[in-house]
C-alpha cells in the first residue's frame, strides 16, 4: 500500500494505488499459476488447462482498458485455490520493493495501470484550474430557493392509493425529503464545509472496526453480535467538531455523546479525534442487510447525506445481493465512491481480489478507488494500523487537497441534483397516476349511481311500479267507489269548496303503498349501485384498501330506507301542494264540481307513474290523466306533471349524491393532493435546473 508522491507533484494529480504491492507479486505469480484443486465442478465452463488460463489472462489484460465484456459470469468462474504457504509474506516483501519502482510496476501490472487511468480521470479531467471558490451568492440563492420550492412541492405530495408504484413513491418521497433536509440544502448553503465520508456496508463487514482503526480510538462499538452498530457514529477532527455539532447537515438527528439505544433511529453519536485529518469526517452507519430493517433505513439516510461513500464488504460477502444493490445505488446517484474489501484471508488474497475486481469491472465500477484489508487480529475493536495506512493516506490527501475535496463534494452534490432530474418528475408522474386513478374510481361510482338514477327514472315512468300492493290498493280505491267520491257536485246552498271528506283508510292505504313502492325502487337501485361500485373498485388493483377501510361501501347506507321514505313523503306533499296552488280548476267545472285535493294528488301520482302506459294509447289517455285533465285543464296538467317529475328526480338525485359522498369521502381519506401539485413539482424541477 503506497502512493507516488513524486508523480503527484509532477503531474498535479492523484494516483491512488489500490492494488497493493501484493498485486505485483500476484501478477507475476499468475503467469505460472498452480493447478486448481478441484475437478468436480466440471460444468463450470472453463476447463482448467494451461491454454485456457492464458486465454483468461489475455482477456483480463484487455478488460480494464477497453471494457471488453467477459462472457464468464462470476458464478461460473471455476475454483482456483491460491497456493498455500508463504505467498502472503512473499507478496509483502515484493510490495516493499515495488513501492520504489512504481512506474515499472505500473507497466507490468495491468490492474495497476488501470487504477492509474482511473485516478487520472477522477482528478485531472476538469482541467488544471478548478474553481475553488464557493458558488456565487446569487447562484446559491437562486439554487436554494429553487430547492426550497422542490422541497415544498415534494412535501405536498401524498400517495394514498395502493396502486403499483405507490409504495415505492412514498419511499422515494421521504428519501428525497430527508436528503434535501439532511444534505442538499445545508450543502448548498455552505459548500466549504468539511467533507462527510460515510462508511456503509453489510453487517459484520467491519465498518466500526475500520472507523476505530482510522480514529485510533474505540469510538464505535464492535463485537460478534450481528447487527452491531445501531446508532450512526460520526468521527471528525476536533476543529470540525463544532461544525458538525451545530450544522444543518443531518440536522434532523439528535447529537449524542455516546450511543443510546433509545434514540437509535434519530440519534447521531459525535466524537472528535486528533487522528483524523481535518476537513474530513467519517460516519459509521448501521448495516444494510441485517434482520433489523430500521438499520437499513438509517444507513440509507446517512448515505443520502454523504459527500463520499466508503463501501465496506468482506471476502465472504462480496457477492451478496444487498451489497451490489448498494453499489448500483451509488452508481445511479453518481456519488463519489471508494470500496474497501476487508477481512481478506491473506492466503487467498489475490484470487479474491482479482475476482472482485472483475465483478466490479463488469458492473462498470472498475475505476473506483479500492482498498484491500487483510483479515487480522482485532484488538480492542481495532485492526493493526498498517492495514489501513493506505486508506488513511487517501483521507489525508482529501484533507490536504482542498480542491480535490471540493471537487468530490461537488461531484456528489451534482450527482444528487442530477438524480432529482429524474426522481422528482417520477414522483410527479406517480402523483398524476394517483390522481388519474382517483378520477377513475370516482367515475366508477358516479356512473354506477347515474345508472341507478336512470333505472329509477325508467321504473317510475313506465308503470312497472304499479304492481303488487300499489295496484291492489288502486283497484280497491277505484273499485270500491272512493274514486268517484273524490268528486262532489256543488249543491246550491252548500259552501263552495267544502269537499266531503271520505273515509280515510283506503286513501291513506293507497298513499302509503305508493310511498313504499317508490321507496323500495329507490333503495333497491341504490343497493345495486353500491354493489356495482364496490365490485368495480375491487376489480381495480389498488382500490381494495380503500374499500377495506370502509367496509360498508358495498351496501347502501343504513339509514337510506328512512331517508328515502322521508323524501318520497315530502314529494307527495309537494304534489298535493302543487295541485292546491297551481291546479286552477277550469271555471266551467269549478261551478259545478269540487274535489278532494288529497285524493286527486294520488290519482295524479298514479298517472305520473305511468298508469296505463303499457296499454294502447287511444288518444284520450288513461283514466287518471283524463280525470285530472277534465278537472284542471291540459296546461295545468302538463305543468304539474313536469314539475312533479323533475322534483322527484331532483330529490332522488340528492339522495344518491349523499350516497356517493361516502365513496368520495373514503377516497379523500386516502389523502391525495390535486393535479396542480404535480404541475408545481415539474415547475420546481425545471427551476432547479435553471438555477444550476
Amino acid at each position: 500500500m503506497n502512493r507516488s508522491q513524486e508523480k503527484q507533484e509532477e503531474r498535479d494529480e492523484v494516483v491512488v494505488l489500490l492494488a497493493d504491492d501484493g498485486e505485483i507479486g500476484d501478477a507475476s505469480r499468475e503467469r505460472h499459476r498452480e493447478e486448481p484443486e478441484d475437478e468436480a465442478e466440471s460444468d463450470a465452463g472453463t476447463p482448467d488447462t494451461g491454454g485456457a488460463e492464458d486465454g483468461g489472462e489475455a482477456g483480463e489484460r484487455a478488460l480494464p482498458g477497453d471494457g471488453v465484456q467477459r462472457d464468464a459470469g462470476p458464478a461460473e468462474i471455476d475454483e482456483q485455490a491460491p497456493q498455500e504457504g508463504e505467498t502472503g509474506e512473499e507478496a509483502q516483501g515484493d510490495g516493499e520493493a515495488g513501492a520504489e519502482v512504481l512506474d515499472g510496476a505500473g507497466d507490468v501490472d495491468e490492474n495497476d495501470g488501470n487504477e492509474k487511468a482511473g485516478g487520472e480521470e477522477d482528478a485531472g479531467s476538469p482541467g488544471d484550474r478548478m474553481r475553488e471558490t464557493p458558488l456565487p451568492d446569487a447562484v446559491s440563492e437562486a439554487l436554494s430557493s429553487a430547492l426550497t420550492a422542490v422541497r415544498a412541492g415534494v412535501t405536498d405530495l401524498g400517495f394514498g392509493l395502493d396502486i403499483p408504484g405507490a409504495e415505492e413513491a412514498r419511499r422515494v418521497r421521504s428519501e428525497i425529503l430527508a436528503q434535501l433536509d439532511d444534505y442538499v440544502i445545508p450543502r448548498v448553503h455552505t459548500s466549504t464545509a468539511p467533507a462527510l465520508v460515510v462508511v456503509a456496508g453489510s453487517t459484520g463487514a467491519g465498518k466500526s472496526t475500520l472507523l476505530n482503526t482510522l480514529a485510533n480510538a474505540k469510538v464505535s462499538a464492535t463485537g460478534v453480535r450481528r447487527p452491531t452498530t445501531g446508532t450512526p457514529v460520526l468521527a471528525c477532527h476536533p476543529d470540525d467538531h463544532e461544525w458538525f455539532a451545530e450544522g444543518d447537515l443531518l440536522g434532523s438527528l439528535r447529537r449524542l455523546s455516546e450511543p443510546d439505544p433509545e434514540a437509535a433511529s434519530d440519534g447521531l453519536v459525535l466524537v472528535s479525534t486528533e487522528r483524523l485529518p481535518p476537513g474530513v469526517a467519517l460516519l459509521d452507519t448501521p448495516d444494510i442487510d441485517s434482520v433489523v430493517e430500521e438499520h437499513h433505513e438509517i444507513a440509507h439516510r446517512m448515505l443520502d447525506a454523504a459527500d463520499l461513500w466508503i463501501f465496506v464488504t468482506t471476502a465472504a460477502r462480496y457477492a451478496d445481493a444487498p451489497a451490489w444493490r448498494l453499489l448500483r445505488l451509488a452508481k445511479e446517484r453518481g456519488a463519489k465512491l471508494a470500496i474497501v474489501l476487508s477481512r481478506v484471508p491473506a492466503k487467498s488474497r489475490e484470487v479474491i481480489t482479482k475476482h472482485f475486481v472483475r465483478m466490479l469491472t463488469e458492473y462498470g465500477l472498475g475505476e473506483v478507488d479500492r482498498f484491500v484489508i487483510n483479515e487480522g487480529k482485532v484488538t480492542d475493536g481495532m485492526l493493526p494500523d498498517h492495514e489501513v495506512s493506505e486508506l488513511r493516506l487517501w483521507l489525508t490527501e482529501l484533507s490536504v487537497d482542498e480542491r480535490r475535496r471540493e471537487q468530490a463534494v461537488r461531484a456528489t452534490l451534482d450527482g444528487v441534483l442530477n438524480s432529482f432530474r429524474t426522481r422528482v418528475p417520477a414522483l410527479a408522474k406517480q402523483l398524476e397516476i394517483q390522481v388519474a386513478f382517483r378520477r377513475d374510481l370516482r367515475a366508477d361510482v358516479e356512473s354506477a349511481y347515474a345508472q341507478a338514477l336512470v333505472e329509477v327514472d325508467k321504473s317510475t315512468g313506465d308503470g312497472s311500479l304499479l304492481r303488487g300492493e300499489v295496484l291492489a290498493r288502486w283497484q280497491d280505491f277505484a273499485g270500491s267507489g272512493d274514486l268517484m267520491r273524490t268528486l262532489q257536485l256543488r249543491k246550491p246552498g252548500r259552501l263552495a269548496g267544502k269537499a266531503s271528506h271520505q273515509a280515510p283508510e283506503r286513501l291513506s292505504a293507497l298513499r302509503s303503498a305508493l310511498r313504499t313502492g317508490l321507496e323500495s325502487v329507490v333503495v333497491s337501485a341504490a343497493q345495486r349501485a353500491a354493489e356495482e361500485a364496490a365490485s368495480r373498485w375491487s376489480n381495480r388493483p389498488g382500490a381494495q384498501e380503500v374499500l377495506a377501510a370502509a367496509a360498508e361501501l358495498g351496501q347502501a347506507s343504513d339509514d337510506l330506507p328512512r331517508r328515502a321514505g322521508r323524501t318520497i313523503a315530502a314529494w307527495q306533499e309537494h304534489i298535493t301542494e302543487l295541485i292546491r296552488t297551481e291546479g286552477v280548476t277550469k271555471r266551467s267545472v269549478a261551478r259545478v264540481i269540487s274535489f278532494d285535493v288529497e285524493s286527486l294528488s294520488l290519482i295524479l301520482t298514479i298517472g305520473l307513474l305511468g298508469y296505463g302506459a303499457s296499454e294502447a294509447r287511444n288518444g284520450t289517455g288513461a283514466l287518471p290523466q283524463r280525470l285530472v285533465h277534465a278537472l284542471l285543464g291540459a296546461e295545468s296538467l302538463r305543468n304539474i306533471g313536469v314539475k312533479a317529475r323533475s322534483d322527484l328526480r331532483a330529490r332522488i338525485g340528492m339522495l344518491f349524491d349523499d350516497e356517493t359522498a361516502r365513496y368520495i369521502q373514503a377516497l379523500d381519506g386516502a389523502g391525495i393532493p390535486d393535479e396542480s401539485a404535480a404541475t408545481r413539482l415539474y415547475q420546481a424541477t425545471y427551476n432547479l435546473e435553471v438555477a444550476r
Partner: protein, 546 residues
C-alpha cells in the same frame, strides 16, 4: 416404519384430503394465490409420500461463504462439492446418498443432475449405518447476485424434508436469510436445524455470545425451540454433533411427514387468517322457519297479497249492491246527478269498472329487497367472500322471480268483476218482488176506482179487485213485499260480506302457500346449496386444523 409414523401418515392424509376439498370449494372465495399454493402443496405432498419413505432429504442451505460445501464434504467425508474463496462458489446442487436403494426416483423428483449425485458405497458406510437413508443436499446460496436469477435454492428449500441452515458469525443475522425463510418457517422447528459454522473464527466466549444472540433472534422470529449446533467444517469440531442430529432424524424416518405437516400448519394459519373460523356456532345448512316465514311475508307484501284480499273484499261489497241490493235505493241513486257526466266523462265509469279486472303482479324492487334482506340476515358474521356468495345464490333467480310470482298468483286471484249465479237469482227475486209491488199498486188502484169511488162496475172477472174491503190486505201485502225486498237485500249483503271475508282468508292462505312454494324453489334452495358448501368448507378447515 413405526406405528407412530403410520398414524401420523393417516392424520396427514385426512388433512390433505381436507385441503383438497378446500381447493375444490375455494375458487371465488379464497385468494387465488393461496389456492395455487395449496394445490402445489397437495401435489408436492402426493409426490413425496409416494416416493421413498426410507430416505430423508436434508438440505444444507445458507448464504454464500457460510461453508455449506465444506460442511457437506466434511459430513460425507469426501471432497464431493467444490469449495473455495471466490463468491459465490456452488452453482448447482450436489447430493450425497447414504443407501442408494430406492433413492433414484426421489433424486429425479428433486431434479438433481446425474453428475452431481454421489452415493456412499457400502464399504464406506461402516460405522455410519445410522445415517443410512440420508440424502444430503448441498444447495447453492440464496443471497448472492447469482441467486437473483436462480431459484434452485428456493425450490429445494421448499421440498427438502429437513433444512439445515448453515450460518456463520458474520452472516447469521442477514435479512436475506431471516426475512425470506426463517420467519416463514416458524412452526417448522422439528424439521429445521441451525448450524453456526466457522466457529473456529471466534473464541469460546464470543461463540457463546454469538449462539445466545442467534437463539434470541430466532425466538423473536417465532422459532420456539431452535436446534442450534456449532460446527467448524475446517477443524471438524461439532461436525459429529451435527451428524448425530442428522442420524436421529434419519432413523426416525418421520422428517418427510413432519415437514409436510409443518407446511400444512403454515398454510392452515394463512388460510385461517383470510378465512377466520366463525366460532363454534356454524350456521345450519338449512334455513330456519322464522326466516322462511319472513321471506314469504316479504314476498307476499311485494305481490300485495294482503292488499289484494282487502281490495277483493271491498270491491265485492261495493259491487254486490248492484245485484243484490234493494232496487229502489239504486234507482234513487241514479236519479242523483253524476259528476262524471257533468264533466262529459261518462265512459270513465266503465273504465273504472274494467279496472277492477286487473290481475295480481309482484313489484320487482320489493322482491329484490326481500331476497336481499334474507341473504343479509343469514350472512352476518360470515367472511366477505361467502357473504357475497350467498347473496349471489339468493339472487340467482331473482330476475325471473317477480314474473313467475305474478303468473302463479294470477292463477288463483279471483276476477273482481265476476258475478256469481246466486247474485242473478237474487236480482230476479228482487225484480219479482218489485213486480208484486207494482201488481199491488194496480190492485189498490182498481179497488180505489171501483170499490171506493164506485165509478162503475168492474169488468167481469175483476170483481175481486174492485172490492174496497181488500184494500187493507193489499196494503199489508205491499208493505210485506217491500219489507221482504229490504230484508233480502240486507241479508244477502251480510252474507256477501261474511262470504267474501271467508273467501279472502282462503285466498290469502292459497296465495301465501304458492308464494312460499316459489320462495322455496327459487330462493331458499340455491341459498341452502351455498350454505352447504360453506359448511363443508368450514368443516374442511376444521379438519385441516387437525
Amino acid at each position: 416404519m413405526s406405528v407412530g409414523t403410520t398414524q401420523s401418515r393417516q392424520g396427514l392424509g385426512s388433512r390433505l384430503a381436507a385441503l383438497a376439498r378446500i381447493v375444490e370449494l375455494g375458487p371465488g372465495k379464497v385468494d387465488p394465490k393461496l389456492l395455487t399454493e395449496s394445490g402445489q402443496l397437495l401435489l408436492r405432498a402426493g409426490d413425496r409420500l409416494k416416493l421413498s419413505s426410507d430416505h430423508t432429504v436434508v438440505a444444507l442451505a445458507g448464504g454464500t461463504g457460510s461453508g455449506k460445501s465444506t460442511l457437506f464434504n466434511s459430513i460425507s467425508g469426501l471432497e464431493l462439492s467444490p469449495t473455495g474463496v471466490r463468491r459465490p462458489t456452488t452453482a448447482r446442487t450436489h447430493a450425497c446418498v447414504w443407501g442408494l436403494d430406492g433413492a433414484g426416483p426421489l433424486l429425479d423428483w428433486l431434479q438433481i443432475q446425474w453428475r452431481h449425485r454421489f452415493a456412499r458405497a457400502s464399504a464406506l458406510d461402516r460405522g455410519e449405518s445410522r445415517l443410512h437413508g440420508l440424502i444430503l443436499l448441498d444447495l447453492p446460496d440464496h443471497d448472492s447476485i447469482r441467486a437473483l436469477t436462480d431459484s434452485e435454492a428456493d425450490r429445494l428449500i421448499q421440498v427438502a424434508d429437513l433444512v439445515v441452515w448453515v450460518l456463520d458469525p458474520q452472516k447469521y443475522a442477514d435479512a436475506s436469510t431471516h426475512r425470506r425463510y426463517v420467519t416463514d418457517l416458524a412452526g417448522h422447528e422439528a424439521v429445521t436445524v441451525f448450524v453456526l459454522n466457522q466457529s473456529d473464527r471466534l473464541d469460546e466466549e464470543e461463540l457463546a455470545e454469538c449462539v445466545a444472540d442467534l437463539e434470541d433472534l430466532l425466538h423473536r422470529e417465532g422459532v420456539e425451540h431452535p436446534v442450534v449446533v456449532t460446527t467448524s467444517a475446517i477443524t471438524g469440531a461439532g461436525v459429529d454433533d451435527l451428524k448425530e442430529v442428522l442420524a436421529e432424524t434419519v432413523s426416525r424416518r418421520r422428517a418427510a411427514t413432519q415437514r409436510l405437516e409443518a407446511d400444512l400448519d403454515r398454510l392452515t394459519l394463512r388460510l385461517a387468517k383470510v378465512m377466520p373460523a366463525d366460532g363454534t356456532s356454524a350456521p345450519p345448512s338449512s334455513i330456519d322457519d322464522a326466516r322462511r316465514i319472513g321471506l314469504t311475508d316479504a314476498l307476499c307484501d311485494a305481490a300485495g297479497v294482503p292488499a289484494v284480499g282487502e281490495a277483493m273484499e271491498n270491491v265485492y261489497a261495493a259491487r254486490s249492491g248492484e245485484w243484490v241490493g234493494w232496487p229502489y235505493t239504486r234507482w234513487a241513486a241514479k236519479l242523483r246527478p253524476d259528476p262524471l257526466n257533468s264533466l262529459r266523462l261518462g265512459d270513465l265509469r266503465d273504465e273504472i269498472r274494467s279496472l277492477t279486472g286487473g290481475s295480481v303482479s309482484a313489484q320487482p324492487a320489493e322482491v329484490d329487497t326481500a331476497v336481499h334482506a334474507l341473504a343479509d340476515g343469514l350472512t352476518s358474521g360470515m367472511h366477505e367472500a361467502w357473504q357475497s356468495g350467498i347473496r349471489d345464490a339468493a339472487r340467482s333467480r331473482s330476475a325471473q322471480l317477480p314474473q313467475v310470482l305474478s303468473e302463479e298468483l294470477s292463477e288463483v286471484a279471483p276476477r273482481l268483476d265476476r258475478v256469481p249465479g246466486w247474485w242473478r237469482l237474487l236480482l230476479v227475486w228482487q225484480y219479482l218482488l218489485v213486480l208484486l209491488f207494482v201488481g199491488g199498486l194496480a190492485w189498490v188502484g182498481t179497488a180505489l176506482v171501483y170499490g171506493v169511488f164506485g165509478t162503475g162496475k168492474p169488468p167481469a172477472g175483476l170483481e175481486v179487485f174492485g172490492d174496497a174491503a181488500s184494500l187493507p190486505w193489499v196494503g199489508l201485502m205491499m208493505l210485506s213485499v217491500l219489507g221482504l225486498g229490504l230484508l233480502t237485500a240486507m241479508a244477502s249483503r251480510n252474507f256477501i260480506v261474511l262470504g267474501s271475508g271467508n273467501e279472502r282468508d282462503a285466498l290469502e292462505r292459497e296465495m301465501r302457500r304458492r308464494v312460499a312454494g316459489l320462495a322455496e324453489s327459487m330462493v331458499i334452495e340455491p341459498v341452502e346449496r351455498e350454505l352447504t358448501r360453506y359448511n363443508e368448507f368450514n368443516s374442511a378447515m376444521r379438519s385441516l386444523r387437525g
